[in-house]
């Protein structure tokens, strides 16, 4: 029997109050693409941090080609041929590609030699990249190439990739997969972390599934259905949201020629956005993060103002109305950031219920607050949306992400909105909670509400939306019927490969 490249044996790591990894064991073979699957909080990150030397295990051991392996720090892990591409890039915008790569090296060679090595590696692996371009001008996909090339220059035996496709368009994902397959064919092993099951089925040879810190099973992705893998991740049978027939009615919300300057130097300006949503319709808006999603939500919620008739609700111009007036008219919203934007972390759920529901649920009378009514409303949200918490007097920050998200969505849904705008409604939420949230959106639309769902999760958008549009650098593509849309078409709407060349290898 061949010795695996890396063998994990009974790795355990506990943090106060939670066991992040509990006796996790599995092997990564030479030249294997190994998937590490699991929901948020299943312990994937902790596990790779142990392999990369960022965290020390409490017990258990690792063997690298049969020899004990216990890196004390990332530098030691790198010296042993472990490289990692993080989900969040650590690049300096003002420096060029070669300078950024040199910064991460122990003994950087002369800039000219480095540049030629970068060119060499990038051509070999089909990742065209000019070493002298400034990183600030690169797209997310190109930035990721910088990170990958930085790793490849070390000639790694094992490349760890943490959620690499979350910032990429489908076309960019294609390019990445070709690179990874080429690496595999040369004998490099890859540990691939993701919760996107279709990708894993396509790319990976083997998958290990973590749930609540434990290794709950292994499978060969190509031979296992995405549904089976999802159920192994969650541990229970999944309920797929069902869509009932909906009657699409009159136009509820109409945006025409909406242009808004960027709120800050790091924001995105909205450029001539047009869209309409009808009663009973769900419009899905996709796009890579940072292309104007937050700004679009702000313009709809009333946090940012626009020209009065750029936004019309039932034909009435509302572009200059604030959030309270819009809620009164039936336009509700739920922002992406739960803590600090959709909810105040240190305030109780009752107080957070008041945050958006004061007007429509009659929680105030001439400025005086009706606390019993607010508490009753919070309790209703908690019970109808199955929010796991001891009671409405608990602080919002004491809830887990998924539970707080259910509370935030439930708070808006129960106010009977006529138009509901949600941004990333299931971001960082476990699969069963995500299914419940999607179902509630479908039910709301079935009841005649118009819904705009902004999301970076294309599977989610395809599951619930009737029509689909994509945001790209603050511009919105023309909406198209979601049924029958192919991944390629979606990718092109999202801006294709963002001008990245496809390498021919």
């Amino acid at each position: 029997m061949t010795v695996p490249l890396l063998s994990l044996q009974g790795l355990t790591k506990a943090y106060p109050g939670v066991v992040a990894n509990d006796q996790v064991s599995f092997d990564i073979g030479e030249g294997e693409v190994h998937a590490l699957l699991g929901e948020n909080g299943a312990g994937k990150s902790t596990l790779v941090k142990m392999i990369y030397g960022l965290v020390k295990p409490d017990s258990g051991q690792m063997l690298l080609r049969g020899a004990p392996f216990a890196p004390a720090e990332p530098r030691a892990a790198r010296a042993d041929g472990i490289a990692m591409v993080f989900q969040h890039f650590s690049l300096f915008d003002a420096l060029n590609v070669a300078e950024n790569i040199a910064l991460g090296m122990e003994n950087p060679p002369a800039m000219r030699d480095l540049a030629s090595r970068i060119r060499e590696v990038s051509e070999t692996y089909g990742l065209p990249l000019d070493p002298f371009r400034t990183v600030g001008d690169l797209s997310a996909g190109e930035r990721q190439r910088v990170e990958i090339i930085r790793c490849l220059l070390q000639d790694p035996k094992l490349l760890i990739m943490d959620e690499p496709t979350s910032v990429l368009t489908p076309q960019e994902v294609e390019i990445l997969f070709e690179t990874l397959q080429k690496l595999r064919s040369e004998g490099t092993s890859i540990l691939y972390i993701s919760h996107k099951l279709e990708e894993i089925r396509k790319l990976c040879d083997h998958a290990t599934i973590l749930r609540l810190g434990k290794n709950v099973g292994e499978c060969t992705p190509a031979e296992t259905s995405a549904r089976d893998m999802a159920e192994m991740m969650v541990g229970t049978a999944l309920k797929t949201p069902t869509r009932s027939d909906r009657i699409v009615g009159n136009v509820a919300l109409d945006i025409s020629g909406l242009s808004v300057p960027a709120p800050s130097a790091f924001g995105t300006s909205l450029k001539n956005v047009h869209l309409t949503v009808r009663k009973g319709e769900i419009l899905g808006i996709g796009g890579v993060a940072g292309n104007g999603q937050d700004e679009l939500l702000a313009v709809l919620s009333g946090e940012a103002l626009s020209a009065a008739d750029a936004v019309k609700l039932h034909g009435k111009p509302i572009g200059r109305l604030g959030p309270v007036a819009r809620r009164r008219l039936g336009l509700l919203s739920a922002p992406e950031e739960r803590l600090g934007h959709a909810a105040a972390p240190d305030m109780s759920l009752t107080e957070n219920a008041l945050l958006t529901a004061a007007v429509r649920e009659n929680l105030e009378n001439r400025g005086f607050l009706n606390w019993p009514a607010a508490k009753a409303f919070a309790k209703r949200v908690i019970s109808e949306f199955d929010v796991r918490t001891p009671g409405p007097e608990n602080a919002a920050r004491s809830l887990s992400g998924g539970n707080l998200q259910k509370f935030v969505i439930g708070r808006e849904v129960l106010q009977r909105p006529e138009v509901l705008v949600v941004n990333q409604p299931t971001w960082g939420v476990d699969a069963s909670a995500a299914a419940a949230i999607r179902q509630s959106l479908l039910d709301l639309a079935a009841g005649g509400a118009a819904i705009i769902c902004i999301s970076q999760d294309l599977d989610e958008l395809m599951e619930i939306s009737d029509s689909f549009a994509a945001l790209n650098e603050g511009r919105l593509s023309a909406p198209r019927a979601a049924a029958g849309l192919t991944v390629d078409e979606i990718g092109l709407m999202m801006g294709g490969a963002h001008g990245m060349e496809v390498a021919h290898v």
């Binding site: 943090y15 309270v324 809620r327 950031e337 959709a342 945050l355 004061a358």
Partner: protein, 360 residues
């Protein structure tokens, strides 16, 4: 090894216990300080905390507690509204001076007419003066985004110059033999903020402070505006999402705190102090910042903290004269109180863990 670990939610028990623990720690550390200075620590602490309330001369000191406590509470209540929302009015001292000048000016304009309406007009003028002075940083912040901390603080020194100019010029007592300072309002019945019960120290300012406490309590706990104030302080982005207009909140919070500081100044100048003089202000506006935090920005807490602060002032005075403690030592003692409060405040949101890190 000691580590701090964030609590899942703020501890209610600690948020109530913190001020008490802080007072206790101040007594211990202060006692040590006094011992190093060669004084009997137990006697010093007893003098500060016991003497004014139950000592031999308590009949004199108790009214003094009200006289010193009332302006502190009145100003601190106003400041706490802004502090809750993250709007930092540091210039209450200036607003206090302007309230006194406007109030006294209104009263003196009627001199020597005796009429019932003079005192109410002075109250309104005092509140207006403080409000006006606070509107300067408020409008500058709303319009130009200036920093209210700096502007309100600098306006204290402008107000002090005004005060000096008024005591030497416009408001100077024409029968004062050339000495600086205005007529004594205590001798002008219609303008005198006299004790409601003679010798009790219970003047209109005390009544106003109590009303302010009740008003602030209702505002913060039962009213939308108070909710918006708290929300803005806790999560500014969520507040905007909820529909709070920051500019309106800035105008309200600075305006209200300026008004209350102006009232405090007006009640002081027409009562205990009696006249506009160059050294009229004694730092109530700054001490009130400590009182506001000592009271955890909570109206009832501020009421208690105002009392405690007044106690350390009066007790400190007694300790100075009876035991020969230097006044600097008393100030250090008061500083310790705030220091320990802020230090122990950490325990509301964090808990201490002993032992090795990262082991469950």
């Amino acid at each position: 090894m000691i580590r701090l670990e964030k609590r899942p939610q703020p501890s209610r028990a600690w948020s109530i216990a913190t001020p008490l623990v802080a007072v206790l720690a101040t007594m211990i550390a202060g006692g040590l300080l006094f011992a190093i200075l060669g004084k009997d620590p137990v006697e010093a602490i007893r003098t500060i905390f016991w003497e004014p309330l139950f000592g031999e001369f308590a009949f004199y000191y108790r009214p003094q507690l009200l006289i010193k406590g009332a302006p502190l509470v009145l100003i601190a209540i106003g400041l706490s509204l802004g502090f809750r929302a993250g709007i930092w009015n540091i210039g209450a001292e200036g607003q206090y001076i302007m309230g006194a000048l406007f109030g006294a000016g209104m009263g003196l304009a009627f001199y020597p007419l005796e009429a019932w309406y003079i005192f109410p007009l002075m109250v309104i003028a005092g509140a207006f003066g403080g409000w006006l002075w606070a509107m300067i940083p408020a409008l500058l912040k709303v319009r130009f985004g200036t920093n209210e901390i700096l502007v309100s603080l600098m306006l204290v020194y402008v107000a002090e110059q005004f005060l000096a100019s008024m005591s030497l010029g416009l408001l100077k007592n024409p029968e004062g033999f050339g000495f600086p300072g205005s007529r004594n309002l205590q001798q002008y019945e219609s303008a005198h903020n006299a004790d409601l019960i003679a010798g009790s120290g219970m003047h209109w300012g005390v009544v106003a402070a109590l009303i302010a406490v009740i008003f602030a309590y209702v505002l913060l706990n039962r009213h939308m505006l108070g909710y918006q104030i708290r929300l803005t302080g806790e999560a500014p982005r969520a507040a905007r999402f909820a529909g709070v207009r920051p500019a309106r909140l800035i105008l309200f919070c600075l305006g209200a705190s300026g008004m209350l500081a102006g009232l405090a100044g007006m009640f002081e100048v027409s009562g205990p102090s009696g006249q506009v003089s160059i050294d009229f202000n004694v730092g109530y506006g700054f001490t009130a910042i400590i009182v506001a935090f000592l009271g955890r920005l909570h109206p009832v807490g501020i009421l208690l903290a105002g009392g405690l602060m007044a106690l350390t002032y009066i007790g400190g005075d007694i300790a100075q004269s009876n035991m020969g403690l230097p006044s600097a030592a008393i100030q250090v003692f008061q500083g310790m109180l705030l220091f320990f409060l802020l230090a122990f405040d950490l325990l509301t949101n964090f808990r201490l863990r002993l032992g090795k890190p990262e082991v469950a």
